[in-house]
Subunit: 273 residues, 4 copies
């Protein structure tokens, strides 16, 4: 159960009271109150408590009016994965889903290029080629949307999808679309970050997994990972090192999201890990 609402005294006592009376056995509890924003966040893992609907109703009655309550069950979610030509992130996701390291099913992979079709086929996952050439962006994005809909995807993962997506498209997946950005945001926003990093002579590079919002590269950050580099790394070698961090950061962010550990707090995240 994930609850977030305006903060006020007694919330933990009230919420745990509902769980206790419903005979739920709490396995793990996490709370956080953002003092500045005056907002309270709580995540509870529990077993038992047959009547979820009744519990949710009771909580709604007790908690502040702005409370958001999510009661979820563990179990594989469905992912739509969008890619372009780079293999490393989608390969890692396919492996992790195939072996149960991520509690998810890849419902399909969509790409504007054919390069990764053979890889995806190995894992008996549908590959949808959807070119952006010769079609208007709006039309292209409508096609993507239709494909995602047909997959009944719970989450959309941009696993090195190298095209910018329009506001209208993005608006259909609020907090359900995760991107891996090839830099340690907010540094090196935009294209060719490893070339930029090389030119600036940085000594550490990183990658950022974040929710996609209408503002390009500005969505709430889920995971950031870094790796030390030095002068002897060419842009190509920075890029190779970057691929490893990208892959790890995206996998970690997906685990957190799929285990329902991520809250939104304005443009920031609250993560109970």
């Amino acid at each position: 159960m994930l609850v977030d609402c305006s903060d006020r005294p007694g919330l933990v006592h009230q919420i745990t009271g509902v769980l206790f009376r419903a005979n739920c056995n709490v396995l793990m509890n996490h709370e956080y109150a953002d003092a500045e924003a005056g907002r309270f966040f709580m995540r509870t893992e529990f077993v038992g408590g047959a009547n979820a609907g009744a519990m949710e109703k009771e909580l709604k009655g007790l908690l502040p009016i702005d409370a958001r309550i999510r009661l979820t069950q563990p179990g594989p979610r469905r992912l739509a994965v969008l890619v372009s030509k780079e293999h490393h992130c989608v390969a890692d996701i396919l492996i992790r889903c195939a072996f149960g390291e991520l509690d998810a099913t890849v419902a399909g992979v969509i790409s504007n290029h054919r390069d990764l079709e053979p890889l995806v086929a190995k894992f008996d996952v549908p590959f949808h080629y959807c070119t952006h050439e010769g079609v208007l962006r709006e039309e292209h994005e409508r096609r993507l949307q239709k494909l995602i809909e047909a997959m009944k995807a719970d989450y959309v993962v941009l696993a090195k999808y190298m095209r910018i997506l329009g506001k209208e498209f993005v608006s259909h997946y609020p907090h359900r679309m995760i991107n891996i950005h090839h830099s340690f945001l907010p540094a090196f926003v935009g294209a060719r970050p490893y070339q930029q990093a090389f030119e600036r002579g940085v000594k550490v590079i990183g990658a950022t997994a974040h929710f996609v919002t209408e503002q390009l590269d500005e969505g709430p950050i889920i995971v950031q990972q870094v790796i030390p580099v030095d002068h002897s790394h060419s842009p190509q070698e920075l890029s190779r090192a970057g691929r490893d961090v990208e892959q790890m950061a995206l996998a970690r962010s997906l685990r957190l999201v799929l285990e329902d550990r991520v809250f939104l707090n304005g443009n920031r995240t609250v993560i109970f890990d």
Copy 2:
């Protein structure tokens, strides 16, 4: 407030109820249940609630019989720091205490050597020279104990104190004595860990801050930090790199202990940071 006791359903609800009824305003809550050991840990930061004694009594009545309840106030604790010849850890502690980065006062520094007397004097902290030469170990440790007692120290910090302490001495400071061990325990137990690390050709070295128990180097670990190294590091250079990690690990463990964030769970720690 820190509470730990046997785990059972409803504990969070009960404890937060006591706080709520006493008009306490909870700032932050952390809980953890060790499923294997069946033990529950909870740390609550709160303001208000005038009558601490009454609250503690009420909690004792409600909670399992084996409950340990600690109600502490923030405010500077007193440290007795034991050193030998190496300066880096004690210098760091003196600076951090002098500038309020650690919420503590160095009540005195005790050493079996005179090397660090000038450094300690700079900070207007008493320096006690207590040689181990020409006295039996039991007698030496009795003298140490007397000095520590006179300081009214809350915690004893072994900041590169290079002599082994006897069980009798150690038994007076259960979970109140913190040591920085110059290795990434449990590797390289014992003397000359950097020479050992060099000979084994490790690619990472580390330091471990832990509570001191009767078993040498076997007490509950509070903090471990690491740093990458390579073949070009001589034992001397490993040692220099090690000093930086030791200093950081010890400072971090002291902050955690002084902020009452550390529980003991058998020979392990539970840390809410």
Copy 3:
């Protein structure tokens, strides 16, 4: 070109002289002298210099009698990968070889279990089932050896192969067999390292990629990587976190070995990266 020999003044001048006179264009040079052992190591990447045999001969005449000289060409090496039931390391190697991230071909995968056969088949790599049941260890290892020989493997990779190999078998692959050890050696030698790590309450776990020698877990270390953990990690979660570090450490060590960046210096390595 990799050269190592007893150290003495003028070696760099002599070696670079041979390259210069042979019209080689040096791209990158690395040297290291181990002062304690009195040994010199040099790695040179160059283009040009048609007559490798003549160069090697000239160097042999100039350098100390104990000099080892290796002239290698970049180009895919052949790997024999031994596995048991865990997929993560071999999956990562298969992906990296398939996409040219490692300059190698997986010549075959050998296992004492059938679990990973479907995964390996996806990558069109031969899978050899070679059970250890009902055969003597010597006979089992002879079968392994025959399989490896038939693959014409340059390197043998133990990618979570969970059986101990005999001295006789190991002796056939001096510095050509790489193992990933599921701990931050020399800590937690032996079985169930994550259970051991949990019980000791460590705050950092790691993995070690090393050459296999006759002494179990005692061979020269190539790569060590670490990841921070805390009290909330169960042995299972430590193990999951460990899999990620194992995979990264093994991949990195393979890259270093395949790019001829690793020297042996007694039981340690010298690595020019």
Copy 4:
């Protein structure tokens, strides 16, 4: 000896030849060629070779016309340290210099505030109060410059000096002025980086030690270090964590500079560590 010049075949052979003929015994050699910029860098540690002037002259005759040759002796350099109100970086430098961990003498500390005078006095180092109030910036900087001159400082260290320095002032210390920037450049350029980091919800913060050039925060980076953070860090806690990284990054950059391990390569550095 540090040499950098246009790259061409045979440079290592020529330079080591000069050293060999002068009876120098090379302890350690590092070279790097920047293929893109066509520039060659070499650092050699050696003993012997009495006549440095003759060697330099011979090298000048052999090497490309644009060669820069520096022959330096180990031995304490003189530091002028500029501070404002924050103590952590200057305290660390004072300790390290006092105990020989940095091969340098703090020739004096200059500040536009009186806060740190007592700390500096403890170490018997002159403290110069030089207010910026009531004087024009040009005049203030002329006074700073005079103080630095009087100290005969080899390097100027901005150890949390919180005022922007003018181009004219900066131009007197090319590659001799080192700043610690309280962010992981190029992210969060400018003031209040920890507030910015908090608002962006980053999961890693860092610090950057760099040479000061006329472009604010744009000079060549020497060291970058990072530390993971999460949603529970307030701006104040980010700032506290940041102080530790700042201190370590600045200390490390000073060690590298004082050991003559840092080259400039355009706006980047080449570092042989």
